[in-house]
Symmetry: C2
Subunit: 123 residues, 2 copies
């Protein structure tokens, strides 16, 4: 086993988090997992609340980390397509596992909330 005991930060875990954390990265990744290729504008429509700046920057970081591929068509008007890189597809199982745990967790919170409410009603 790795020795995390004396001051060694858990760099593996951090490495994974560095890739997927960022306010919009999770949802961007899921759209790209489910759609093969998406244009910039399609992503924008899919995530209406995001600004162009944020969409650009988050995609750039994913591209920098080799998770996402960016294909530029030199046309007028321009067209750019984003897709998961081959390497990026390796993230899929992890993202699915996270989503699954998150789903259960939201149910868990629901139950806690319900119990609190019932307690309040009784009193």
């Amino acid at each position: 086993m790795t020795n995390q005991s004396k001051g060694e930060t858990c760099k593996e875990l951090q490495a994974a988090l560095d890739i997927i954390s960022g306010k919009w990265k999770p949802i961007i990744l899921f759209h790209l997992m489910e759609n093969e290729k998406l244009r910039f504008s399609e992503l924008q429509r899919a995530i209406p609340e995001i600004t162009r700046k944020m969409l650009t920057s988050q995609l750039r970081e994913l591209e920098y980390n080799n998770i996402v591929h960016r294909e530029i068509y030199h046309q007028v008007p321009p067209k750019v397509e984003y897709s998961m890189s081959e390497y990026g597809h390796g993230l899929k199982p992890l993202l699915i596992a996270m989503r699954s745990w998150g789903f259960d967790h939201l149910e868990h919170l629901e139950n806690l909330y319900r119990q609190d409410n019932e307690k309040l009603i009784k009193e």
Copy 2:
């Protein structure tokens, strides 16, 4: 499949990330996974760079989310023990999966770095 296509944020994934993101949460969680119970001061020694304030706040958030249990011994001087809650143990597989992916990713980066270096040497 869930429909993430039109503006629905991926709340499940976000829920998972909310729990484990935070500068010190990953390493705190791993220490608690490997040690059953740890006192506040033991955690501090295990993570020397962390400040008391941060250790407190991160633990409080984990406690609030029902991941970590806090046991207070009313003594002088005080003694507080932290441990994974039963619910928190359910995070273990996910954390291990993340660490595993992160490990591979760090190797991936190593290889990229090495290739770049060899290219530079050739030129």
